[in-house]
Every structure is written in C-alpha cells, then in structure tokens.
C-alpha cells in the first residue's frame, strides 16, 4: 500500500518533470542572459539560474498551464535575485534617483539635428561596447531595458514582475534608452565616427 502510494507520487513527479522540460527548460538561455546582465558575474548567474529552476520545479504544479511560462520564470528569478542575491552583496545596488535625474537633465533633448539618427552612427561600435553600456546602467533602468528591448516583454508584464506601475516602466525605459544613447554616442565619438556637427543631446 505504502509502496503504491510512493510509486504513484513518483509517476506524478515524472509526468510533471516531462511538462517542465517542455515548458520551462527552453527559456534557460533567456534567464541566463538576464542573470548575467544583472549580476555581472558568470558564477553568480549560474547560481541564480539554478536556484530559479529548482524553485520553479517545486512550484510547477501551481503554474497555470497555457499562461506565459517565460514571464513566470522571470518573476521567480526576480524574487530570488532580490531576496537572496542582493542580500549577499555588501551593499545592494540602490539607484540614486537624484543622480539619474541630474544626468537626465544634462542630456535633455534640446538638439534638433536628426541627421545623425538616420546614419548608422553606432555601426562602428563593438558588441562588447553595447553590452558594457547596458551593464553600466543603474540597476532599475538596466532591468526594464533588458526585459523590454532584449526579451520583448510588454509593459504590463514588466510592471507585474518588477512590481512597479506601468507608468514607471515607461518612464524608466524612456530614461534608460536616453542614457544608453548618450553612452553609446560617446563611444562612437571616441572612435571618431561622429563628425562633430551632431550632438548626443
């Protein structure tokens, strides 16, 4: 009797695992990519992804079939990142919104020259430089830009798992792109690509 019970439970788990393998495992590259960008360290990214998948499997019976599994996994990863990873680092990477605001004010859009947007002003940049510019963004801004522009999540989905209003998602995204543009423009300028007649502003 006990044996049958254990055996049934094992069969159930195995069935659950098969579903998990089909639904969740294919998103591992996206999660790893996000973890790597958030932690900036391969070992930490490995730990974060591993923890996310183990937690996800433990709660997979609660996952509503037919809903967005990738978003569900990202939500688990976000919680692990906030609850576990950030607690372990010496000083959690908090964003000083005043600094960001000051930075933003300095690059506010007072430039109307649009020629350089139409040229491929960033064609000279290396992929590593683009990646570094993202990594250098303050965490809150980095999160939304990765989720939106790289992973393709909607504002509603981002708001849901970052736990902020949709208006804040939009605002952070707006500023993140502006900061990123400014940083990439500086890189391009260093490489002598821009002609000096245009400006990052």
């Amino acid at each position: 009797m006990e044996f049958n019970k254990a055996s049934n439970s094992n069969v159930k788990l195995k069935k659950l695992y098969e579903e998990f393998e089909r639904e969740a495992i294919p998103h591992m590259d996206a999660l790893y990519n996000f973890a790597l960008k958030m932690t900036g360290d391969e070992d930490d990214a490995d730990d974060l992804v591993q923890e996310t998948y183990l937690k996800a499997f433990r709660f997979f019976d609660k996952f509503e079939k037919g809903t967005n599994c990738k978003a569900w996994l990202f939500r688990i990863m976000k919680n692990s990142y906030i609850n576990d990873y950030r607690k372990q680092v010496k000083e959690p990477n908090k964003v000083d919104y005043e600094d960001v605001q000051n930075f933003y004010e300095n690059i506010k859009s007072d430039e109307v020259e649009t020629k350089h947007y139409e040229q491929d002003v960033f064609s000279s940049l290396l992929d590593d430089e683009i990646s570094k510019a993202i990594t250098d963004l303050p965490e809150d801004f980095r999160t939304v830009i990765i989720l939106s522009d790289i992973e393709g999540f909607t504002y509603d989905e981002i708001a849901d798992f970052v736990d902020i209003p949709v208006g804040t998602v939009r605002s952070r995204l707006h500023r993140a792109r502006k900061m990123l543009y400014s940083q990439l423009y500086d890189y391009a300028k260093l490489k002598g690509f821009t002609d000096g007649s245009s400006s990052k502003r």
Partner: protein, 76 residues
C-alpha cells in the same frame, strides 16, 4: 516630458488609444524635437534588438540543473 514618454510608448507599440496614437504620430511628423526623440528611442531599441549578443546558458549549467531536478524527484 509627458509627450516624450508617450513617444516611448509609441515606439513600443504600447499606446492603446487611437486618438493618442494619431496625435503622437502627427507630432513626430511636425515637431523636430519630437522627431529627434522618436528617432533616438527607435535607434536604441533597434540596436539592442539587432546587436546585443545573447549569451547561451553553458552546457554544464543545463546538465547541473537537470541532474539536480532528477535528484529531487528520486528523493521524493
């Protein structure tokens, strides 16, 4: 500022109200500041989409996770 953020939503196809979409579209066509903002936002979005190198999860990580999951199942 509000308008510039609406341009961000416009670029992301996140505006639902057809009237706002038309208003933003018109502004982009007629106002050079709005056009610059539109081009800047689109430029970064496109750049990340086309040039950002996505890292693949290493094989050893995939194997570790699968093996941890198998251990978990077997221990139940």
């Amino acid at each position: 500022m509000e308008t510039f953020e609406e341009i961000t939503s416009y670029v992301d196809n996140e505006l639902k109200d057809q009237l706002i979409i038309s208003r933003i579209s018109l502004l982009i066509d007629q106002d050079c500041m709005c056009k610059a903002e539109y081009l800047r936002q689109s430029c970064v979005k496109e750049l990340l989409k086309s040039r950002f190198c996505k890292s693949k999860a290493p094989d050893y990580l995939i194997q570790n996770i699968i093996s941890e999951l198998q251990n978990y199942i077997n221990s139940r």
